[in-house]
C-alpha cells in the first residue's frame, strides 16, 4: 500500500502538518508552569473573562438555535420566490471577515435610528457585553443554519405527513417528529456554535471594544494581556481556550452525522 514514493510523500506531509499543529499547542502549554497557570486562572480578571465568555456564548448559541430552526426549516422544506438569493445572502457571514461584520454591527447599532430606538428600550449594544452576544450571533448564525438545514433535508417530510394524518397540525407534526429526530444535528450545531462563540474576537472587538473587566472575554483577555506583556494571564486564557476547543471537537465528532458543514 505504502510502497510507492508518492504514497510515502503524501503521508509525510500529513505527518509534518500534525507535528506543526501539535507544536503550536505544546508551545503554549510549556510556556507556563502548572503553578503559575493555576494562580492565573484563579485571578479575578481571568475569572471574569471565563464567566463573561460562558455567558455570552451560551446566550448567542441559544439565539442561533431559536432562529435557525424555523429559518432553516423553511429553506429545507419549502420552495418560494427568491429562495436561492435568500439562501446565498444567509450564507454570506461564512465568507465575511468577522472584523467587517463587526464594523457593520457597530454602524447599525451606533449610527442608525434603529440602533437609537433599541437603545431607548435599554438594548445598548455598542461597547457593552450585549454587543459581544450580537457579534457572536451575527458571525455564527450561518453555521447553525447550514447544519440545521442539512439535518432537516436528511429527514423525509413523509414523517410529518403521517403525523398530520394522525391528528397533528403542521407545527405539532414538526415538533413531534422532525425536531426530536434532529437531536444529533442540533447538538452538533449547538456545540460548534458555542465553541466558535467563545473564540469570537474580531466582530466582538469592533462592537463591544476591549475594556478590561467590562467586555473582556477570553480571547479579548488574551489580546489585552499580550499587548501589555502580562504573559502569565495571556497563557492562562490561551490554555482555557484550547481545553474548550478540544472538548467541543470531541463532542462534535461523537455526535457525528453532520458532514456538510461547508
Amino acid at each position: 500500500m505504502l510502497s510507492s514514493k508518492f504514497g510515502i510523500l503524501t503521508v509525510s506531509i500529513a505527518l509534518l502538518l500534525t507535528i506543526f499543529i501539535l507544536s503550536l499547542i505544546a508551545c503554549i502549554l510549556t510556556h507556563t508552569s502548572p503553578h503559575i497557570l493555576l494562580t492565573s486562572i484563579a485571578s479575578q480578571e481571568i475569572g471574569f473573562a471565563i464567566k463573561l465568555s460562558l455567558l455570552t456564548s451560551a446566550i448567542s448559541t441559544l439565539m442561533c438555535i431559536a432562529v435557525s430552526i424555523p429559518a432553516s426549516y423553511s429553506l429545507a422544506r419549502y420552495n418560494f420566490f427568491g429562495k436561492t438569493l435568500l439562501s446565498t445572502i444567509l450564507d454570506l457571514p461564512l465568507a465575511l471577515p468577522p472584523l467587517v461584520a463587526g464594523v457593520g454591527l457597530l454602524l447599525l447599532f451606533g449610527t442608525t435610528s434603529f440602533g437609537a430606538w433599541l437603545s431607548d428600550f435599554g438594548l445598548k449594544f455598542v461597547f457593552t457585553p450585549l454587543g459581544i452576544v450580537i457579534a457572536q450571533f451575527a458571525v455564527n448564525i450561518s453555521f447553525m443554519l447550514r447544519i440545521m438545514r442539512s439535518t432537516f433535508e436528511g429527514i423525509s417530510p413523509r414523517y410529518e405527513n403521517v403525523a398530520q394524518t394522525l391528528g397533528c397540525t403542521p407545527m405539532q407534526a414538526f415538533l413531534q417528529t422532525t425536531l426530536p429526530m434532529s437531536k444529533n444535528g442540533l447538538m452538533a450545531g449547538g456545540i460548534i456554535t458555542w465553541s466558535k462563540g467563545i473564540g469570537e474576537f474580531g466582530a466582538a472587538l469592533m462592537v463591544a471594544g476591549a475594556t478590561r473587566m467590562k467586555t473582556e472575554t477570553l480571547p479579548i483577555s488574551l489580546y489585552l494581556n499580550m499587548s501589555c506583556g502580562d504573559l502569565d494571564l495571556a497563557m492562562a486564557a490561551a490554555v482555557i481556550l484550547i481545553i474548550i476547543s478540544f472538548v467541543s471537537l470531541y463532542i462534535f465528532e461523537r455526535r457525528g452525522g453532520v458532514t456538510r458543514l461547508y
Partner: protein, 347 residues
C-alpha cells in the same frame, strides 16, 4: 364515500392531471400504475397533504378540499413505513390516539388489541430501528388503523418486502379489510396485488387515470395498448382452491385447474400463454390440465400468434405463426389445450 372531481396538481417532478374518481364505502380500491404515474400524489391529495391546483375532493358528500389532514380521519401507510425512530413501537402505534387526547388506559388497551391483531404484541417495547421490514410494515398498518379512520390509504405497502413476507402481508391486508370494513385505497405497481386484493382498480399513467373497473374488466378488456402492455398478463383467474396432497385443485367458473403450488381458499391463478400447448385432437400427455374448446379470436403479433380459446373460460395461447399456419387453425376451429400443473401459478 370518496369523490374526487377534476383534481389537478403539479409538483414539477410528479403531476396529477384532471383526475376524477368515485370510491364506494367499504371498497378495497386499487390504484395501479408504473413508477412516476402520479399515484402517490393522488392519495396524498386525498389525505390533504397537498391542496389541489384545481378540482375538488369530497368525503361522505362533504367538500374537504380545504380541510387540513388532521380533520379528515384518513390514515396513511407509506412503502418505507415512516415509523418514528425516536418512539417505541407502542408509542408509534398510540401516536394518533395521543393526538386525539384519548385517555392513557384506553390508549393502552387499543394499542394492545391492534398489536395482537397484527401479531406484533411482542415488539411493543422495542424501537423501530432493529425490526425487519415485515414487522415495520405491520406496525405502520397498526398505527394507521388504531385510530379507526374512515379511509385507509396504502402507498405501495408491500413493495419493499421480500416475496414470502409480501404474500403473508397481502393475506393480512385482506383479513383486516374484511374485519374492519374500512374503505381502503391501495397504490401499487404490481398486477398481482391489484388482482388479488382489489374490488375495483384504477389504472394511472402520466398523471391521468386511464381506466377504472373490476380486476376482470381491466385485465381482460384493457381499454388501451398501454394497459395491455403494462398489465402484460393474460390467463388470470380467480377461484377457490382445495389442496389434495401436494397439488391444489382450483375451481374457476365451472372448470377445474390443477396446480403444483399448494394454497387453499380464495386464490388467483395465472398461466403464461407460452406454457399452453394447442392440438386439434385430444392427446394423452403427462400434463395435468387438458380442456377442449373453440378458438374465438386470433391476434397476429408478427412472428407470434395469440389465439383465444374458449373452454368455459377464455384462455390465451401463444404459438408461432408457423405452427398456426401448419395446423390450419382459424377462428371457429375446435381444439384442445394442455398445460402442466407446474406451469399453473397460484397467488
Amino acid at each position: 364515500m370518496i369523490r374526487i372531481e377534476h383534481v389537478s396538481k403539479d409538483l414539477g417532478e410528479f403531476k396529477l392531471d384532471d383526475a376524477t374518481l368515485h370510491i364506494d364505502e367499504g371498497e378495497y380500491f386499487i390504484i395501479l400504475g408504473p413508477t412516476g404515474a402520479g399515484k402517490t400524489i393522488l392519495i396524498e391529495t386525498i389525505a390533504g397533504i397537498y391542496r389541489p391546483d384545481s378540482g375538488r375532493v369530497f368525503l361522505n358528500g362533504a367538500d374537504v378540499t380545504n380541510i387540513p389532514p388532521k380533520d379528515r380521519q384518513i390514515s396513511m401507510v407509506y412503502q418505507d413505513y415512516m415509523l418514528f425512530p425516536h418512539l417505541t413501537v407502542a408509542r408509534n402505534i398510540g401516536f394518533g390516539l395521543r393526538q386525539k387526547k384519548v385517555g392513557r388506559s384506553e390508549t393502552r388497551a387499543k394499542v394492545d388489541e391492534i398489536a395482537d391483531l397484527l401479531g406484533v404484541s411482542h415488539l411493543l417495547h422495542r424501537y423501530p430501528g432493529t425490526l425487519s421490514g415485515g414487522e415495520k410494515q405491520r406496525i405502520a398498518i397498526a398505527r394507521a388503523v388504531v385510530t379507526e379512520p374512515k379511509v385507509l390509504l396504502l402507498d405501495e405497502p408491500l413493495s419493499a418486502l421480500d416475496s414470502r413476507t409480501t404474500e403473508r402481508l397481502r393475506a393480512e391486508l385482506a383479513r383486516i379489510h374484511k374485519l374492519t370494513g374500512t374503505t381502503t385505497i391501495h397504490v401499487t405497481h404490481s398486477f398481482e396485488e391489484a388482482f388479488a386484493l382489489g374490488d375495483r382498480i384504477a389504472v394511472m399513467c402520466g398523471g391521468r387515470i386511464i381506466q377504472v373497473g373490476t380486476p376482470d374488466e381491466v385485465f381482460r378488456r384493457p381499454n388501451s395498448k398501454f394497459i395491455a402492455d403494462f398489465v402484460g398478463v393474460e390467463n388470470l383467474f380467480r377461484g377457490r382452491s382445495v389442496v389434495h396432497g401436494d397439488i391444489s385443485e382450483v375451481r374457476v367458473d365451472g372448470i377445474s385447474v390443477v396446480s403444483s403450488t399448494v394454497a387453499s381458499g380464495d386464490v388467483s391463478v395465472s398461466i403464461r400463454p407460452e406454457d399452453i400447448l394447442i392440438s386439434k385432437r385430444e392427446i394423452e400427455t403427462s400434463a395435468r390440465n387438458s380442456f377442449s374448446g373453440e378458438i374465438t379470436e386470433v391476434k397476429d403479433m408478427g412472428g407470434i400468434v395469440r389465439a383465444v380459446v374458449d373452454v368455459g373460460v377464455p384462455f390465451v395461447v401463444a404459438l408461432t405463426k408457423r405452427s398456426y399456419e401448419d395446423m390450419e387453425l382459424a377462428p371457429g376451429t375446435r381444439v384442445c389445450i394442455v398445460f402442466k400443473a407446474s406451469a399453473t401459478h397460484l397467488f
